[in-house]
Amino acid sequence: MSDDIVSYADVSFSYRGDWLNRIDALRQVTLAVPAGCAYGFLGANGAGKSTSIKLLMGLLHGHGGAIRLFGSPIGDHRLRARLGYLPEQPYFYDNLALEEYLAYLGRLSGMTKAQIGPARERVYQLLDLGDLRARKLKSFSKGMRQRFGLAQAIFHQPDLLVLDEPFSGLDPLWRARFKEVMALERKRGATLFFSSHILSDVEDLCDRYGVIDHGTVLEQGRIADLLGQAPLELTGSGPIPAGAADLADGTWRLSFPESDRARALASLPAGAEILRLERHRLDLEAWFVSRVRAHHGAGSPLAASAASATSTKSRGERP
């Protein structure tokens, strides 16, 4: 636990609804982000990702359980000097120029005037903001604002980067650039904790993941372990093993998980010839949908739509 940069232990939180009603946003959330890792926080819209992040930032309060940042309770505001935060759909002051704004936020993070100049040049270069330095933010497009949002988050070279839907509103070129910048930040030594519902982004960037739905953490672990769940597909000829599909060209195909590899190979009938052994790529989207569907139960409308999405996907993959 001591190596965890961020940890949530049995964290619950509810919003005030109408009158005396409370709306549960988080239920007994427990997760840990180890130092130096890139943690992808997955969930559908309204699952509780932003609420979890806002609690970490101190923007929401009154939660149950314990949240620790750099090993200390989040109440200590000085800890926030070591983190950078990109909110979801960020808005900024209209009448400040980009360079003024960066200097302002840098100084709030404890940077000296001497540190601000080189740091500005660094983010101008990383995010191609040099030509916009004197422009007021009210003239920025959505994509430019998102670029500025990432620039202000990495400006003071924080130990922890918390990014809430960082790829929102970006074109494919800037999505790729954002991923490069995030990879560079990680190389520098920063820990990444970001929320997304785009699974390919998480697969590209993260080594750990957590799935949240309806305020409950359904699953967390290593991306490598998750991808390792993809089935192996063995194509062979000769005697057909039990459970294999007989193909039209006289061959057969047997699928089994990586964990069953040794047993499956050992149980091949005598004379069976292995033609090829392939690992199929795990369809993360289908995995995520099925995971959430299982949590929702069959009666939920989202479960029904998830079911139809999964079946469409599998039909599409069939040759």
Partner: protein, 251 residues
Amino acid sequence: MIAIIAGATFREAARSRAFLSLLGLYACAVMMSRLVGWISGTDGNLITANMVMSLQSIIGVLVAVATGTALVQTEIQQKTLYTVLSRPVRRWHFVVGKFLGLALALACGQSAMLALGLGYLALTGAPVNAWMVLAGALTTVEVLVMAAVSLCWTSLSSPLLATVLCLATYAIGHAVGSLPQLMYHLQGFQATICVWLACLVPNLSLYEYRDQAVHGLPISPEDTAMRLLYGVMWIALLVTVTVSVLRRKQL
């Protein structure tokens, strides 16, 4: 932290369209004041001087309300404070810094208005004296109290409702001075309401020294200091209320 936030707020407020538009409106209204002086049946110069001094208060309060009501609630609605409060900044740092930045911008605006107004009066031959500078300074205190009022209301309600409540507070604040006389004619519940109103709303009539100043009537230093202290106390109270509201707010 407070000084950094105040500096950014000052730049943001001083460049805002509402601030600059109302300063422009003041300049136009000052030019028009001569016209009112000419068509008045009495001493045109005194009417012009009175108008110029009153415009500083009215336009100043409008600037304070327009920028003050946008100060906290708009930040919450537009989430601009997320990038500030996610840094090692406490919520009270944010509120106090915001208020000081706005106060600095308003004080600069008031100084510009006073210089422009007195310069215009001097050019047109209307009476100008040192007491008018003091009247302008007291008007600035009134405007700063109104900025604190708008900050407080905006932390409790929407910007639109806060604007209405601020203007109501301004109207009642100027009537508070006459409440003690009114109380002699009232009894029971009505008198109680008068007492409560007098306690709950800042007495802005204390800053109506403009008319006397135009006529060159002096004000004692003790009286000036008391009015100044009264304003500072109200500002401190209102900023404290805003801080306690924002500390509990879910963002």
